[in-house]
Subunit: 302 residues, 2 copies
């Protein structure tokens, strides 16, 4: 049978995971009831924790370790995987998927993977809406895993109350890598695979760069983990909690809401345009002697 948007939300709020899955599908695919579902979403204070960092940093393994610890403590966690390389997103090797199986069967854990926009990464078009639907359920935390590259970072930073940047000791490129955007978005740094050579250097570089408070009362901590052995997981959970308690935390709310609204506006305003349409129009005129890209583009600007 079909549920109304309000029914779905009510069931979702009371822990019905089938209803949640259905609500997400409705939103992700703009099925009937899509708008009324979104506009009926209650205010939620469930913290959203974003995990980003380069592929191979071990984000999925770290999240697995956190899920194990938190669910053992009776916490409920919703996970959104948008990293195409993530085993949570079925985007990885069979071995990884098997390692994940424990969580797919864990009643305290709800995992939803989202297709990325195009084949080039970046977050799903509907990540904002899906996250807010997840936040209408009875979770203690929402985790979002995204491959931490460029624009995706901006987007996850615009979604997550606490952004955790996971890095690993690499061959001398750390400092440059940090220049390219990751630094600004990190609320917590995790140096994973901290048993690797070069870990101490990386930790010290990060601490040097992070010594001044990012927001009021919050200096970005650097946590060492070996996720495969769950080392450092408790300290990380502690840092997540203390970030939420920090003085500047509430200011971030406005930044996050502003980003969300900006993205929603952009999606809405670009709804009627698609590249195929542009392409077909182009084909008609591009060979003309006086073709000018900017005159051509004007017709679509409205």
């Amino acid at each position: 049978m079909e549920y109304s948007a309000k029914d779905l939300l009510r069931l979702t709020q009371h822990g019905d995971r089938k209803a949640l899955a259905r609500a997400i599908t409705v939103v992700e695919n703009e099925l009937p009831g899509y708008d009324s579902l979104l506009t009926a979403l209650p205010a939620s204070h469930i913290p959203v924790i974003g995990f980003t960092g380069p592929p191979g940093a071990g984000k999925s393994t770290l999240i697995s370790a956190l899920l194990r610890t938190l669910s053992n403590a009776g916490k409920k966690i919703g996970v959104i995987a948008v990293d195409p390389t993530s085993p949570f997103n079925f985007g990885s090797l069979l071995g990884d998927r098997l390692r994940m199986a424990e969580h797919f069967n864990n009643p305290h854990v709800f995992i939803r993977s989202l297709a990325t926009r195009g084949s080039l990464g970046g977050l799903s078009e509907k990540i904002i809406e899906v996250t807010d639907v997840m936040r209408s359920a009875d979770f203690d935390f929402i985790f979002i895993e995204t491959v931490g590259v460029g624009q995706s970072e901006v987007e996850v930073a615009g979604l997550a109350d606490t952004t955790i940047v996971v890095v690993v000791p690499e061959s001398g490129d750390e400092v440059q890598a940090l220049k390219s955007g990751i630094m600004e978005i990190a609320d917590i740094f995790v140096v994973n695979k901290a048993d690797r050579e070069g870990a101490e250097t990386l930790v010290n570089n990060l601490k040097k760069m992070m010594h001044h408070p990012k927001t009021e009362g919050w200096t970005v901590p650097v946590v060492k983990t070996v996720a495969s052995q769950a080392d450092g997981v408790l300290e990380l959970i502690e840092k997540i909690e203390s970030h939420r308690m920090s003085a500047g935390f509430n200011d971030k709310k406005y930044y996050l809401l502003t980003e969300k609204v900006y993205q929603l506006i952009r999606q809405s305003r670009m709804k009627d345009i698609n590249r195929e349409k542009i392409r077909l129009e182009l084909k008609k005129v591009v060979e003309k002697k006086d073709f000018n890209l900017y005159l051509f583009a004007d017709q679509f600007k409205k």
Copy 2:
């Protein structure tokens, strides 16, 4: 004195670099004459070569080596640096800047660095327009250097006739890194620092992944370079030329033009919105009991 848009373009076409610099500034800052300059741009067939790849891959060193070889052969090259970590973009250490000095004084080379959008990387808002202005000058090649992360990759792939992805032997993460979007955009792969351990493995992995033709008559080649010694530079130039001669090359033109138009439309449609405006409106209502993000966003969607 002030030049008209048409004057600036005429001077630019005839090699006046001051006029080019001025034209770029006009476009970048939307100064008077901005529109008429863009709509007066002639069709150009100057190839745009995009260089992307992770920070620390040695893109700048590779470009330096190419500039040396090409300018010695009498070629004129325009360089646009949008990588915030690039020495071309003054974003790097003094040592790097000094290494670049030879090119800043090279009459065959024109270098323009563009601010990135925000502190989080991504290409400059005006990269499309600036590139097209550069293409109205008397260059043989336009080089664009961008840090190859996420969305930026998509954008540079949407700008460049030939996209060169520069990678280096890393600690076992190559294959995953490639999953996250770089593969699709590469027309040519460069394995730089090919004297490093692991280079052969990386080259072989890439070749395996690239064995099927990407576009008609073009299988993505993998070129080994040691940019610091200019090793492999001639082979790379050869591959750039043969990519331009390949059967599928012309098809790409439509893809590039489509992407440009899409970006121009988006910029134009979002012009009247800025985050500060949203933020101020938010502050007024967000604490209200019945606040709903999606109802709030509707007022801006128009």
